[in-house]
Amino acid sequence: DVKVTQSSRYLVKRTGEKVFLECVQDMDHENMFWYRQDPGLGLRLIYFSYDVKMKEKGDIPEGYSVSREKKERFSLILESASTNQTSMYLCASRSTGSSYNEQFFGPGTRLTVL
């Protein structure tokens, strides 16, 4: 069964803290994505990775960085968390051979920055 897991369901951090969000997929997918989801704004792409050590900026990369050292793991880093980064963060993965362009999502991490 296809599975994308995220390290935490809920996370509370303080302004200025460095925050790591981890995502692991067990499907041997080449592509991985980080989104944030906010009411009225839908899913917005932060960063994606089309292969190990490869990354590209999405639509809203400011304030974030990513790391993909292994194929199954894609990390999102908030270097210095701010209150406007309070959001739901969703990780997804996809096979380049996917005929349906299907992205498989994790359950999300609800991050609150105080």
């Binding site: 839908g42 899913l43 089309y50 380049t96 996917s98 349906y100 359950p107 999300g108």
Partner: protein, 114 residues
Amino acid sequence: QKEVEQDPGPLSVPEGAIVSLNCTYSNSAFQYFMWYRQYSRKGPELLMYTYSSGNKEDGRFTAQVDKSSKYISLFIRDSQPSDSATYLCAMRTPGGTSYGKLTFGQGTILTVHP
């Protein structure tokens, strides 16, 4: 102007109603069109996928794409309380290193009450 516009609702209908969910878009290069369904506290899951223009039916669900009008729709017949969820349209262009990158609408919250 957002590339993809979706009425966020919320939409509340009685059980058995026909539901129509819609998205408009501005990028004529979009070729792949998807609908994702997201239950509360879960990640989105692919519901329907359509390539280019036309209709696709799957049980109670019908996806329509009208590329000339840059308009896509999802119809749900005989709606059930279990259809209560957020529905997200998504689309992408073909090819390139950013293949697989999706652009999402804002999502429509649907509640089907018994």
